[in-house]
């Protein structure tokens, strides 16, 4: 039993090997002194996708690259850059994949049209249903 625990501890600790020996970047886990700027940075970080843990935002991810991206976002916000410009800078590098905010590209049209289409279908179903009830 003790061996099993030891072996499983070694096996479970493997992901640690994929990390560097350097500490997190300065602004990775530190709030900006200006609460306004920090709020802007937070809002943007919530909407940027982590490249390592691909279902999480960089605000949620513990990956080192996500920490380095938070450092980049906070530094640029502190330097007075607009969140939209930072987002676009990243989109130029990684594509719209990096941003959680839906775009107005043709690929995203079904997403925007779906609520309207579902509402129409629902209305039609209800209308049919009511007519049948009345006939009976």
């Amino acid at each position: 039993m003790r061996w099993l625990v030891l072996v499983s501890m070694i096996v479970l600790a493997q992901p640690l090997l994929a990390d560097s020996n350097l500490p997190p970047a300065y602004w990775a886990d530190r709030q900006l002194p200006d609460p306004n700027q920090e709020a802007k940075a937070e809002a943007l970080m919530e909407e940027l996708r982590c490249l390592v843990c691909q279902g999480q935002s960089i605000a949620d991810s513990d990956a080192e690259l996500a920490g380095d991206m938070r450092d980049l976002v906070r530094r640029r916000i502190a330097a007075g850059e607009k969140p939209a410009d930072i987002r676009n800078w990243l989109i130029q590098r990684y594509g719209t994949w990096i941003s959680y905010k839906p775009t107005s590209e043709p690929a995203a049209w079904p997403l925007w049209l779906a609520p309207i289409a579902l509402l129409l279908i629902g209305t039609l179903i209800i209308r049919r249903h009511i007519r049948i009830k009345v006939r009976n």
């Binding site: 090997l17 994929a18 990390d19 560097s20 020996n21 350097l22 970047a25 490249l51 390592v52 691909q54 080192e64 690259l65 380095d68 991206m69 450092d71 980049l72 990243l90 989109i91 130029q92 590098r93 990684y94 594509g95 994949w97 990096i98």
Partner: protein
């Protein structure tokens, strides 16, 4: 209700199952490719990683002939086998520069001492900032840069021995 419509849930279930099985059998490509192919390398200037080797800046990449920029780290396991393949490319006359991600001088020196050193220059990217500027999402990755400093090809993951002919062809195309 018509008879056929009674089977609709079953048909939907089967379609859903077929979809799931298909996705399991042919997984999606989860690599995030850089959008910089065909565009000039963004401006950067990294400090030297080793005292014995020159630093790396974007200006060093437009040298009139194509070269490889390899993004690596001493803490990256697949980089160990890759660096040996890079050494072979180096022996064939390919110019290779390195960008070491989140690394320490002594670790890189030990890594290269143990596995061979194919690099002309190595820049230290301690906060992954140049990696992000290049649209790279992990280690190892390699970029083929042409003589004018334009990104021509991104290779995600290690360059294996079997990739060597393809890499040489890409370098030839970038001429």
């Amino acid at each position: 209700m018509s008879r056929a419509i009674r089977f609709a849930p079953l048909v939907l279930l089967l379609l859903l199952l077929a979809g799931l099985v298909w996705r399991l059998a042919t997984p999606v490509d989860i690599n995030v490719s850089s959008k910089l192919e065909g565009k000039p390398v963004p401006d950067f200037a990294l400090p030297a990683m080793l005292p014995t080797k020159p630093a790396l800046a974007s200006a060093n990449l437009a040298t009139g002939k194509p070269r490889i920029v390899n993004i690596f780290a001493s803490w990256c396991v697949p980089c160990i086998t890759e660096v040996r393949v890079l050494k072979q490319l180096r022996d064939r006359g390919v110019s290779i520069d390195g960008i070491a991600i989140r690394d320490r001088s002594e670790d890189v020196a030990q890594f290269l001492g143990r596995n061979g050193d194919p690099y002309e220059r190595i820049g230290s990217d301690a906060k992954s900032q140049v990696q992000i500027a290049l649209g790279s999402s992990g280690v190892p990755e390699s970029f083929i840069i042409d003589g004018r400093g334009v990104v021509r090809y991104q290779h995600i993951g290690p360059i294996e021995l079997s990739d060597v002919p393809m890499i040489l062809a890409k370098l030839e195309q970038a001429k």
